[in-house]
Symmetry: C2
Subunit: 374 residues, 2 copies
């Protein structure tokens, strides 16, 4: 078996040691004579894994005690609905800042919830054009964001996987400063690849299947203040307080998924934590964008330079035929997952934490050669 | 490694071949050079697994084309909220027939949803006593169930894991006959251990972590009529139609969980399907209840004989001290998961499809010896 170089957008490559650990322990977890999947979620063996996963998120990100770390199900898509259900109320407004397709999806659910509750949604979109022609090529500068001081929260998508645009931690495309309005971020595709100050957020949430594990687990870091403010008249399963009060063991968690998140975060810590992994991720991005910038006629990036994503690099080739050839030849060379999202076409390179510099360097070399001979 | 005899209530024992297959393929699924967890949910490799899991549910249970088979997240607990959200409306009534703790949980969510929607909930409970003293020892005969012909649906829990009471397919404790009112059943702990006629149900749903897989996946078999009737003003992620229209690929599914469900159902089919597996399950129950009935002073079953669960056998010993000794000595003999639920105490033997007759026979022998010497 030769392991593929995997640039999938998510579910995505996982660190080999995390998978090897799972293989090793598949029939006998921690000497228990059972798979971790066969353990009760109320037993000490699984609870150790569960607690360690939560503790690793806290440690890696530096989450203070004024925040809860929840492990939920349903992916970011379920959170698109749960967040307004917890935080919206009659006559109140939620603000959505849209920088791509995932923000649009979050907005769609917020509109349904606000209609049910008699609340409102205010939208600021960076999209240019309409319908299928609509393009997203940048995130706003903080000064461009118009914050309504009466809003219940302001929602952003910190990285748009399909369009390859991402907020910076600081700087010219930094996170918006929202003052007393809670900033809520879907970080599914850029969670834990770099340090950031969680205290600037009311909620940061992420489906695990890109940077931190398999699909089926969503990590929600939420301030205790927002947990307490949450509505009590919605189903218990969707109240953040239910899970905060029960250490995310109110109902049966996806135990194997949490176990894999533990394995991945444990590996991440072994790499030196977020500061170290950011260095590697920036080196990867620098290598790949370097090839694009040296061949601007061949590799055309639609994204504003200041808004470029470190996680998802999107570009076009001179023709769709060349794009198909590129994908096919890369596949022959052992590289998969390079096709752009069906809604935008082109090429997309997703390089989350588990994609090594060597993988990206191999692709960069392939791109240089491809541009030279075609 | 010696494999434990595992009577956990859920997550529970999985068939060894299903786990061995997962171990074998952990780093290289179907010769792809990647784990199944690393594949895109939109790629043909994962889609093959996904389609096979759905097809196996259809084949094993004989699901006609007038029903959808959905693979969702959040466990049965999420369905407790999703079902009334889809099916309730202002001024309408949902009927809940309560035969244990899981029915109570489902009812709790239905009450919250009905309050939000201006709807009503009608309750018929088999519980005797109040609060912590409340006992559930039987399911009703069909003639005892009062069906409101105007109800939006009638909800039952086909098997109550904690109390060990279960509806029969037919007979003196058969499923209620609800006429034109859709019968909705939480079958989490007794799905696919025996054949049953799905066309008598509007919805049958089950968390996978007992009979058919690991936690993190919930299977929902729902009539197309109810899918179409469902509300359109609730969040899309919780509309059944969203998942029906997208083959349960609207958002990223829990891919490894679905893969394990596939492995388990594939094993189940190899065992000869539901008719064969029912024979084994009845033989297991007969062996275990046989020991209880021969030692009624020592093993006290609180459950009415006609309502006895084939999946979860609950009983008490003469004292809590003896119960503790029983659990400890069984553990020394390699048997785990025998402690009753914390809310009721005593002993509980959960013996889903993956628990072999040999396991149950070993326990039965242990019980006979324990009763003899204590």
């Amino acid at each position: 078996m030769s392991r593929k170089i995997n640039f999938n957008a998510g579910p995505a490559a996982l660190p080999l040691p995390a998978l090897e650990r799972a293989r090793e322990e598949m029939l006998d977890f921690a000497g228990s004579g059972m798979s971790v999947m066969e353990h009760s979620h109320r037993g000490k063996e699984y609870e150790g894994v569960h607690d360690e996963a939560i503790a690793l998120v806290r440690e890696l990100l530096g989450v203070p005690s004024s925040y809860e770390v929840l492990l939920l199900q349903g992916g970011a898509t379920a959170l698109f609905a749960q967040i307004p259900m917890n935080l919206l109320d009659k006559g109140k407004t939620a603000q959505y800042l849209i920088t791509g397709a995932w923000g649009e999806k979050a907005l769609g659910e917020a509109k349904l919830v606000s209609a049910l509750f008699g609340a409102n949604v205010a939208v600021q979109s960076l999209g240019v054009g309409e319908g299928k022609e609509k393009k997203y090529t940048r995130v706003p500068a903080p000064s461009e964001v118009k914050v309504d001081p009466g809003a219940s929260y302001l929602h952003i998508t910190s990285n748009e996987t399909i369009h390859g645009v991402e907020f910076n931690v600081d700087g010219s495309r930094g996170f918006p400063a929202t003052g007393a309005v809670p900033l809520v971020a879907d970080m599914s595709s850029d969670f834990l690849w770099r340090p950031f100050d969680i205290t600037k957020f009311g909620i940061a949430y992420a489906g695990a299947q890109k940077n931190i594990g398999p699909s089926g687990v969503v990590v929600v870091v939420v301030s205790k203040e927002l947990v307490e403010k949450g509505r009590k008249d919605i189903p218990k399963i969707w109240q953040f307080r239910t899970h905060a009060e029960n250490k995310s063991l109110y109902n049966t968690p996806p135990t194997f998924g949490v176990y894999m998140v533990r394995n991945v975060l444990s590996w991440l810590k072994g790499q030196g934590g977020l500061v170290k992994v950011e260095e590697v991720n920036r080196k990867k991005a620098s290598r790949l964008y370097g090839v694009i910038d040296k061949n601007p006629q061949f590799f055309r990036s639609p994204v504003e330079k200041e808004s470029r994503s470190v996680m998802n690099v999107v570009f076009r080739l001179p023709s769709e035929e060349l794009e198909a050839t590129f994908i096919a030849e890369a596949k022959k060379a052992g590289m998969v997952g390079l096709k752009g999202h069906r809604s935008v076409g082109g090429i997309r390179v997703s390089m989350y934490n588990a994609a090594s510099y060597e993988w990206v360097d191999t692709l960069a070399g392939f791109m240089e050669e491809f541009a030279r001979v075609k």
